[in-house]
Structures are given as C-alpha cells and as structure tokens.
C-alpha cells in the first residue's frame, strides 16, 4: 500500500472512530445546541458504564435495575434538547438520523405520530439474530431526544425502569410487631 493510501485509511479510521468505538450511529445535532434552552449530551462508553456500575447501590431499586441493564452494554449515548418555543428543530434533523438506521442492520419496531406533533420511533439493531442495539427518537414540538444504547438491551426492563423514575420514594415506617 502506498504511503498516501495509508494516510487516507488512517484519516478515514479516525473520522469513523466515534461510531466504531461503541456508538452505532452519529447524532449530528450540534447545531441545535445554540437554540435549545436545555441540552443533555451524554456519551458513556463501555468502560465508563462498567466503572459506574461499581458505584451503583444494589440496595436502591432503580440503581439495581440500571446495574443489571448495563451489564454487557458497549455504551449509551443521549442527546436531548428542550426549546422555549416550537419549530426550533426541523424534520430534516430527524431525517439525518433516520438515514443511518436502515435495514438490514436496523429494524424499526415502533413508529408513533400524534396529532399534537409528537413523533416517537424505536429501532433495533440485530446481530446474529440477537438485539445488539437500540435507537430511540422522541420528538415533541419543544423537545427532541435521540438515544443510542449499544449492546444487548432488554427493552421491557428499560421501559419498566422508566415507569419507576419520577415517582417519589416514600419511607413507610415499619409496623411494630404486636405481641
């Protein structure tokens, strides 16, 4: 291989590094950061997840569920934007992501579009007949969230966890034994 070709391969490999190292598709939504009133950008690779798992408390129900979910995961990548007014993101923003979530690698399992302008989609990535990744697109007029969970994911457990969050915990005093 000539030197110039080697350099091209190296540059190409470096450009593709974010996708190759865990993240299964690129979330090119940086241009929305300036318009958003609140932005969440989380890129956690496998080693960070396994490191964090050591600090999750198994006695806490939510943390215990997350601990079980992250076992074997290669990464979780979240981009979420909240806007003051509607119309800050465009359908083209979603299209750049949808273009990457194509068959045979990806399968769209859920697509919900409401009259209130909500668009929700879930894609699964299969490898050797097993789920190897999840992509979630949740778009509302004033909010846009894209998630990529890389690795084997149990969607039911994930959804169940979502039902637990935001529910305030109540410390119920134990009843004294009556003798």
């Amino acid at each position: 291989m000539r030197a110039a070709s080697r350099w091209r391969v190296l540059v190409l490999a470096l450009c593709c590094a974010p996708v190759a190292c865990g993240q299964q598709f690129q979330i090119n939504l940086d241009h929305l950061t300036a318009k958003a009133s609140e932005t969440v950008d989380l890129s956690l690779n496998g080693s960070t997840l396994q490191f964090a798992a050591k600090f999750l408390d198994s006695k806490d129900p939510d943390q215990n569920k997350v601990k079980k979910l992250i076992a074997g995961l290669e990464g979780i990548y979240v981009r979420s934007f909240e806007f003051q007014k509607a119309g800050e993101w465009s359908p083209a923003d979603l299209e750049t992501i949808r273009k990457q979530l194509k068959a045979p690698e990806w399968s769209k399992i859920v697509g919900v579009k409401s009259t209130e302008g909500e668009t929700d989609e879930i894609y699964l990535r299969f490898q050797n007949g097993k789920i190897n990744g999840v992509a979630v697109i949740a778009a509302e007029p004033k909010e846009l969230t894209v998630v990529n969970i890389a690795g084997p994911v149990d969607l039911d457990s994930l959804a169940e966890l979502g039902g637990h969050f935001h529910i305030p915990k109540m410390d119920v005093p134990k009843q004294k034994d009556v003798h």
Binding site: L49, F55, T145, G162
Partner: protein
C-alpha cells in the same frame, strides 16, 4: 624587655583554674545529651505514599460518583421515553 614583651608575658602567664572547675566539667559531662531528632526518610516516603494513595482513592470515588450520576441520567431519559412510547402503543392497541 620592651613593653610588647611584657604584654605578651602577662597575657600568656600560667593561671590556675578556679577551685570548682573540675567539678563543673564533670557535672556538665554527666548531664544527658539531648539527641538531635532526625525524621526518618522511610517514614517521610511512607507518609507521601499514604497521602498520594488517599488522594487517588478520593479522586476515584469522585469520578465514580460522577459516572454513576451520568449513567442514571442517561437511563432515566432513555427509559422514560421508551416507557412513554410503549404506553402510547398500548393505548393505540386498545
């Protein structure tokens, strides 16, 4: 003998010590010598290792807690969205 010679003779003339000189010297010799305290090098090195290890553990704990918070936040966002989508699908199916 000139004046300089006389001066030298007076200055270098033999003089007997005071009567208690010997006893004073003996008393001083018997007094315990205060040792000069020298901090052992190995102890300084051990202290440095303990401080560094402690700081390292503290930093590891801090990083772990940060990673944990980020993981919980990521899963909170992901799971709430999936839960909402699942609920919508169930409602459509009813």
């Amino acid at each position: 003998m000139d004046w300089l010679e006389q001066e030298l003779k007076d200055a270098l003339a033999r003089e007997d010590p005071p009567a208690d000189f010997a006893s004073r010297v003996l008393r001083r010799a018997e007094r315990p010598v205060t040792p000069v305290y020298r901090f052992p090098r190995w102890l300084a090195a051990a202290a440095a290792v303990v401080v560094l290890a402690g700081t390292g553990l503290e930093y590891r704990q801090y990083r772990g807690e940060m990673a944990k918070e980020q993981v919980m936040r990521a899963f909170e966002i992901a799971s709430v969205k999936v839960n909402r989508i699942q609920t919508q699908v169930r409602e459509v199916g009813k």
